[in-house]
Amino acid sequence: MITLFRSPFAPPRHLILLLASLWLGLALSEKRLERYQISKEALNNIIHFSLLGYIIGGRVLFVLANLSAFTHSPWSIFSINIDLFDPVGAFVTAVLVGFIYGQRQKLPLWASLDALTPLFATLAIGLSLSHLAAGTAFGKPTNLPWGIHLWNATRHPTQLYELIASLIIFGFIWFRKVDSPSGSSFLLYAALTAGARLFLEAFRGDSQLIIGGLRLAQILAWIVLAVTLFASERLRKEEQVY
């Protein structure tokens, strides 16, 4: 399957898949908007400003972190190289920009997050396909019969595990009948995604390890899971009070 993705044409297939999922996710989020009393324009603006924040923030933070390299060639700041990019900084900037825009437009936070949840769930599917296309986020070696040959070893097909998990999570979100209290869709999505990451990271062959061989992504996923469970409990309590 990976060989199929890698064959003849050279454009960055993983990026094309991500962009396609962004477009599809946005269309799906728009379809559900009437539930959350948020205008199509407001939703599109959140996405556009966040995307702009993602692109500019990723480049600016990369430049700031590597200032000495850019003092020798300042024009590189405007290079079209996508590798001159800080993905974590870009993500943080996008979230901040989206949040500030929402606050300025007085958009309800939880309802906005619920409205964006189909987009997040579709992006997660796109991301797993993108990993499959690029051969990244690969698994550790295995003897299991469903192992795939990748990077000169038979490995857990972690990209497929990720794809299956993201499809199931999307199904949970999309076909959910109850949509209250406000914020519950988003929190359910975040909890399921964190749970899936916590479980599937164990099969990865490229985990970032910390003290004692602990996998950093699992620790972060566990924290996110704990926060979302706590937040959903609070939302439920608040709803009962009102």
Binding site: H72, S73, R204, D206, L214, E233
Partner: protein
């Protein structure tokens, strides 16, 4: 009454999650362990032995202890041409710190006669290797030109850049990374 079972359920989920984290600890220290050669970040760079234009043989594993940029290129490839001057500039700047460049020409899909002109036009001083059979390109799963592999002193690929041209600042950041 409903709160208590939910709280218990959440606590059980978190405890199970924590146990799973401890169960899935990677004791090898590094998941890829640097032992399997593959053209991907975190793996041992696949070894190759190729001839230069002057007939001298260069083997990648003989350069262990040096930071190496393996750049796959062809004379007909405009982005390859566009990034060569930056590579040369960065090479001259960092070579005394143990940095070297192996520019592997995809001779099996290029015209070997054009290489000397290209090299003199670009004023290149690093070794130009010739992949006449496509074996090296195959080992590095070449998909696009140029392709660059930044290899640390212990032979591990730290970064792969597919396509180009690479900006000079990108080259500097990656070279400084593999020289650490």
């Amino acid at each position: 009454m409903q709160h208590l079972p939910r709280r218990i359920l959440y606590s059980v989920i978190l405890i199970l999650g924590f146990v799973w984290i401890l169960f899935s600890v990677d004791k090898s220290g590094l998941s890829t362990n640097g032992k399997i050669p593959a053209p991907q970040t975190g793996f041992l760079a696949p070894d190759f032995e190729l001839k230069t234009q002057s007939g001298e043989t260069v083997k990648l594993s003989d350069l262990r202890g040096q930071a190496v940029l393996v750049n796959l290129w062809a004379t007909w490839c405009p982005p390859c041409r566009a990034e060569m001057r930056s590579i040369e500039k960065v090479y001259k700047e960092y070579k005394d710190q143990g940095f070297t460049v192996l520019a592997v020409n995809m001779t099996y899909q290029d015209e070997a006669t054009k290489i000397p002109t290209f090299v003199s036009e670009q004023n290149l001083s690093f070794p130009i290797l010739l992949d006449e059979t496509g074996r090296m390109a195959n080992a590095y799963q070449m998909r696009s030109l140029p392709s660059s592999f930044f290899i640390s002193r212990d032979g591990i690929i730290k970064e792969v850049v597919i396509g180009g041209p690479m900006a000079e600042a990108l080259l500097r950041t990656r070279v400084e990374e593999i020289l650490k």
